[in-house]
């Protein structure tokens, strides 16, 4: 007996060393680096849940959570715990494999995009040379997931929501891509880390204000880049199904849209996927047009660790904007949504691309 205990005690440091070796070598490192955004998403979802509830409550002249913790700070934890332990119902006539797979597909679509965003000068999940292209491509998996959930629910209302959502997501990919194209044109690279480095040095170098170019070109570029930035933000609102583009989950018409039949953990995954998507598009907008992890003061308060702070701050600013808009505006109807995408955003973006191209070539 004593021998066994002695052997076990001697084994721990050996195990510890092997684990460290494992994690330190390439496969292990990759696992750790891939898990970091997941941890971030979980924490960020709690914070955003709280922020959304409190912001909506104060806009509506009421208080939200006040009981769990000081002013309800622990309520999101309680919400997540509730969702986890809830009964996971599957309708009898639903298409079971598709029904179960759908939320995970949606989450995968958004989570994969996190691989390419640089959180700081020292951390990027995967330093892709085609970073933006990869993000645009991979976030389209979400469409598949939503269509699957709508169809598999065996519910006419869910089907409606899913079809609308598919149309909406597909048509708003294009203005997003075109707006991103403007940024790529100015920086000359699709690598997000390089785009970030391009805007280093302070607020005047941000692409939204023309980028680090000579002052004449900058002033000429500024109206177009500002317009593009604005359109990118609105298009990303549509990408994440937020008001005023939240017809797929329009509560007053479709009960909960494609989410109707989901409960418990699957619903929690959908919810988390929506919040993750919100941060993804905010992060992309921040990286491309607002300098990413660069400090607005140039070299003051900059560095690898400060980079994370600035990036998260800019991302959260956009998330706050999205929440604010949700509680202010009514929602657009499906055909009006399409009209905005194809007949308003695209012409403006074409003009911007043309103008930026002409200005840059001089």
């Amino acid at each position: 007996m004593e021998d066994i205990i002695k052997n076990a005690l001697e084994a721990i440091p050996v195990l510890g060393h092997s684990l460290a070796n494992l994690l330190g070598t390439p496969p292990g490192v990759y696992v750790v680096m891939a898990a970091l955004p997941l941890v971030f998403i979980l924490l960020y979802a709690l914070v955003t849940l709280y922020m959304e509830m409190k912001v909506s409550a104060h806009i509506q002249d009421r208080l939200a959570y006040m009981y769990t913790g000081w002013h309800g700070v622990l309520q999101p934890v309680a919400d997540i715990l509730k969702l986890i332990q809830k009964e996971d119902t599957i309708p009898a006539a639903a298409d079971k494999p598709l029904f179960i797979l759908a939320p995970y597909l949606v989450f995968i679509g958004t989570y994969a995009g996190f691989a390419a965003i640089p959180f700081s000068s020292m951390y990027v999940g995967s330093d892709l040379n085609i970073g933006v292209l990869y993000i645009i491509a991979v976030s389209s998996i979400v469409v598949v997931g939503i269509l699957m959930s709508g169809w598999a629910s065996n519910n006419k209302w869910s089907l409606f929501g899913a079809m609308r959502s598919a149309a909406q997501l597909v048509s708003y990919e294009i203005p997003s891509a075109l707006a991103i194209l403007v940024a790529v044109m100015i920086t000359g690279s699709m690598n997000l880390q390089e785009i970030n480095h391009f805007q280093d040095g302070g607020i005047q170098n941000w692409l939204a204000f023309g980028g680090p170019l000579p002052i004449a070109k900058k002033l000429l570029l500024m109206p177009f880049t500002l317009t593009t930035f604005f359109i990118l933000f609105v298009a990303s609102l549509a990408e994440v199904n937020r008001t005023p583009f939240d017809l797929p989950e329009a509560e007053s018409e479709l009960v909960q849209g494609f989410n109707t039949e989901y409960s418990g953990m699957k619903f929690a995954i959908f919810y988390m996927a929506e919040y993750a998507n919100m941060f993804l598009v905010s992060g992309v907008a921040a990286t491309l047009f607002l300098g990413g992890w660069g400090s607005p003061f140039g070299s003051f308060m900059s560095g690898p660790v400060w980079g994370v702070f600035w990036f998260v701050l800019k991302g959260m600013f956009f998330v706050f904007l999205q929440v604010w808009l949700r509680w202010t505006l009514p929602r657009l109807r499906v055909d009006q949504l399409m009209y905005v995408s194809w007949k308003v955003m695209m012409p403006f973006l074409f003009v911007c691309i043309l103008a930026v191209g002409m200005i840059l070539s001089f």
Binding site: Q60, R62, M66
Partner: protein
């Protein structure tokens, strides 16, 4: 306006109205909340608030006015008449209570909180209070029993009342029987046969016969008593005279004789 102008105008309006709305909601982020946190802070209701009913049984006189006024029939009342010997006391408004209220149930789940039962009450004993937190987990607990007498007492009251009724009925029956007997006796005393008989039944018979026949009350009764020993109509079969008035009218000359 040309289509192009409308197009640009709509875009401009869309953005500007959205920004106006956003400014408004942003300002509201900093206005204080208008809600109160309910279980910790409870608002005080005004004095006329119409919530749960309350009945002060000391003042209830069992008049059924609230029962009749209720539009949903949620009040059930039963009363028992009290005996003349029992003293139920007075209400606070100075009325003497004459009825035992043995059942006063209000099904507060049926009550529609209209307040129509409050107005007709003569003693103002039924009121709507400001209590609104009275939910129960068992539906039967929502039938409120307001009576202050226990079920045992109710049984007693009912028994006593039943007994009193029985006695009163018996007395009435006895009185009726005696009246019938007196009637028969008065008819028997009609013939002027002066057979002496026991004074008491003779005295009693005309006495009872007198109220039985209102036609000759004064003559029969006043005259019959001093002539009791002389004229005994009871034992003698009255052959010629069938009716006591005839006997009564013919009595004075007989008695004098």
């Amino acid at each position: 306006m040309t289509e192009l102008q409308t197009y640009f105008k709509t875009i401009w309006l869309g953005i500007s109205t959205a920004l106006i709305g956003m400014r408004l909601t942003f300002r509201h982020l900093f206005t204080p909340a208008v809600t109160v946190q309910y279980p910790d802070v409870k608002l005080k209701l005004p004095e006329r608030a119409r919530n749960r009913l309350y009945v002060n049984m000391d003042d209830c006189i069992g008049c059924f006015q609230c029962d009749l006024a209720c539009p949903v029939d949620c009040i059930a009342i039963e009363t028992v008449k009290s005996l003349p010997t029992e003293d139920l006391g007075m209400t606070s408004t100075g009325q003497k209570k004459k009825l035992w209220v043995t059942k006063f149930d209000i099904d507060i789940a049926k009550c529609c909180y209209c307040g129509l039962c409050v107005y007709p009450c003569p003693t103002e004993c039924i009121k709507m209070t400001d209590v609104y937190e009275f939910s129960e987990s068992n539906r039967k607990n929502l039938i409120y029993n307001y009576v202050t007498v226990t079920p045992g007492e109710v049984v007693d009251i009912k028994a006593r009342a039943a007994e009193f009724e029985k006695e009163a009925a018996a007395k009435k029956a006895a009185a009726a029987a005696e009246a019938a007997k007196a009637k028969a006796a008065a008819a028997a005393a009609a013939p002027p046969a002066g057979t002496p008989g026991p004074a008491a039944p003779a005295a009693a018979a005309p006495g009872t016969a007198a109220p039985a026949k209102p036609a000759a009350p004064a003559a029969g009764s006043t005259q019959s008593s001093p002539a009791a020993p002389a004229g005994t109509p009871a034992p003698a079969p009255p052959a010629p005279s069938q009716t006591p008035p005839v006997a009564g009218t013919t009595a004075p000359p007989e008695n004098k004789a």
